[in-house]
Amino acid sequence: MIKRNLSGRKAVILFIFSTIALIFIIKLFFLQVVDHSYKLSSQNNVLRYITQYPSRGKILDRQGKLLVYNEAAFDLLVIPQQVKAFDTNKFCQLLAIEKADFNARLSKARNYSRYRPSVFLEQISKEDYGYIAEKLYHFPGFYFQARTLRHYPQPIAAHVLGDVGEVNQRNIDQDPYYKSGDYFGKSGIERFYEKELRGSKGLKIVMVDVYNREKGSFQEGRYDTMPIAGKDLVLGLDADLQAYGEALMQNRTGSIVAIEPSSGEILSLITSPSFDPNLLVGRVRGQNYKALQQDSLKPLINRAISGSYPPGSTFKMINALTALNIGAINEHTEFTCQGKLSRPIKCTHDHKSPLALLEAMENSCNPYFWNTFRNILYSSKFKDHKEAYDYWFETMHKFGLGVAFNTDIPFELTGNIPSRAYFDKLYRGSWNALTVRSLSIGQGEILVTPLQLANLAVIIGNKGFYYKPHLLKSIVGDANLPETYIQKIETGVSSEHFEIVKQSMLDVFEGDHGTARYYKIEGILAGGKTGTVQNPHGDDHSMFIAFAPYDNPKIALAVVVENAGYGSAWAAPIATLMIERYLKGESNRPALEKRMIETSHNKAL
């Protein structure tokens, strides 16, 4: 053996060993001590936060009848990692989906995660569920998760109740309570009372293995929370009246709003055309929503709160009340009418002249109310006609016109009462009563919603006060209603002036020339007022407001039928049928009922 000094090489080798060991220790120091992100990752791996969904509150009508409740539905989930080879044709048949759809859904789930469950097919009805679940054992990796869906036993009040849909990113950003895939109220009552209805979610933390098999609760469930069920709501709505009204309106466009005058509770809020609320539930929601959106009759619009109409003759009563209140006219003030020759506004009715307030109202005499309105603006109580206009404008607000009630009806419009500033701008400061004369007969810039019209009927029925119209009657388990719902609002016009106007509304039914004298309700005294509203876009709108019984009204309502002509022809009989149904439970005028239900005013139909 050749002698060479190789002992230095031992040191080199020991150096290599030590260096590698040192590198490992340094790397491990960073991995285990410095970097904390791995701790999180390991928790993400093993902990599953399972949301426990509470049941959403039910919605009942004033009689305790169910309007909305929950029905079980099922989401089919898939964990791609657990999926074994199987007969895809059979599977597609079972679920009634296309092969291409199947592939798309599965690859979407795969892209999300191979190890975590994702929704494969959502909201399968409980009927289909039973059938599919029986055969699901052939297809490992797929399983069901229970969910609830809204269900509507009667296909009514779609707009009032609103719908429930999946949250979008903006909702999640606004309220961190929501997580992707959660449901929330998108419109109507569902939207307004979302916080009461939704309850509160619970959380269950479980540990899972790599195959997502549950391995028990985390720390014996110390961090778990139970879901709290949503509260049930009772509405002032009368389901029977609502259904009846919807039937009466089914072949026409328009709306009916009925209110209980002693409380402001809305008895029915009907808009037509409407739709079956069950259409916007579950898997078919998107498709049906699109169809409704494209419908030329625009069934998604809630005309009762967002339809704005010139009030026409019904508005004359408000002008009269304002004038009486400031002494611009009194009960006996007479004005002359020259019929068609009247200036600046002609009269379309044939009657005696000169005439006093009650006769003017019975005949809906335009010149009389033009003079009334002029007397308001030129009243000696005010510095000038503009100050008088301001007073008039404020009085309109006190009648609930030109403002929203802001109770529990989302997307309510305010209508329009033009302000002094508006006219100042329009006429560059120079205008007078003559310029704005259309306001005297409820035409021109004035717009009101059917809800505001119904509230006018309430005010007159109550002789001067109202409660803000609202849908909620009570929240089950909550004693108190919001303050604004129980606050009595005075119009500031004395009740003796209302007596005159109220009397004139009684004459509409009882008077010899009353416009609704043919629709008198047997055994019930009612007040009413027709309106025929000029519509620049087509046929006149037929309008009617009413309250009954006369002395202590239990129902006040407004009916608007678009493009139907005279108020007395359609809106009036519909209003009386509604009153009869509500107060007597049935109608003894079957022929009228039948005619109203069957006649159509929809040109498109």
Partner: protein, 418 residues
Amino acid sequence: MIRESRVSSIDWLSLSIYIILMLLGWVMIYSAVYDENHSSIFDMSQRYGKQLLWIILSLFLGAMILLIDAKFFNAFAYPIYILVMLLLVGVLLFGSTIAGSKSWFQIGGFAIQPAEFAKFATALALASYLGKLNRDLSLWKTRLTAFAIIGLPTLLILAQYDTGSALVFTVFILVLYREGMSGALMVIGGIAAVLFVITLYINQWYVIGGLGVLFAISLLMIRRNRSNISKMLALLAVGIAFVLSVDYAFENILEPHQRTRINVLLGMEKDLMGAGYNVNQSKIAIGSGGFTGKGFLQGTQTKYNFVPEQSTDFIFCTVGEEWGFIGTTVVILLYLLLLSRLIILAERQRSAFSRIYGYGIASVLFFHFAINIGMTIGLVPVIGIPLPFISYGGSSLWAFSIMFFVFLKQDANRLNIL
């Protein structure tokens, strides 16, 4: 003066570390595959129960080896080597395929992997060959014979598609280095590895450009005589040829899964649910252990199977997750202590055979240690080789134990050699 090899002359330090590592491994396996329905650590239906059996058998084998005459292993080095090579051929013909490698003999319920024993046989044969008088590793004949002894099992194991085990044999270069082969070979090997990685990272033409710049700088630094310049030019040419061939080799010679593993390591493939899943989960397991670890049986990453092969190749994850930085450091220091002790023991041998064999087993253990732990913490591509004495598995534990005890016997007998 002839002395009997006695129990007292056994190196108790290395034997203690060996036993500590095995017992640690047993407890780690218990924790890694813990199953509430089989909570006894002695349950023979579970891996931890079986591992205890392998440990007892290993100690039994060790005791047998200590009783055999120390000269036996030098004398029978070649027959043992030839027998194992035949087994390697046999496994190619009659073996069963487990996890993609045709490297197992299936006997009843047990599977034995001859490749594990090939390391032992090769260390023996190499020691026996180089240990003869007048072997000179500066001679090509000696070098080529040594390479052949190492190369034969390497090729046979490569043929079984067990690249990991085949790579282990490259570590014998350390032994050759200690015995006098030029260190330049190791340095060149190191540079080649660095160039290989750089070429995969960046465009090969940039690398060649870089080599050109290095060449130009070197020209300015050295004395510019003809012989130096021609040497430099030759080096440059070899470098360029190497870089060009790396790309070809990478695309055409490596298997797709091996390419992916290298890509994952270099961070060029980020698919954490696919190829990078193992390493990512392994790092999460170790990283989530923190300084002191989650505690015995509290490792969720390993217990719930997020880490693959958690009782065999990725057993170090359980150490990291349940015992934290303290645990991993202790294990690494135990290995370093054992390896250093083996080198010191090797250096004190009187016979060249014993010394070379000692270096052989130290190198093999080192390679396993470096690659296995490096893999779990993401420093080395995923190469499926076990962590010596700790990973679950009879074949590897027995093979390492035999290697270890044979050396222990040589050491105990060292004073009997003139």
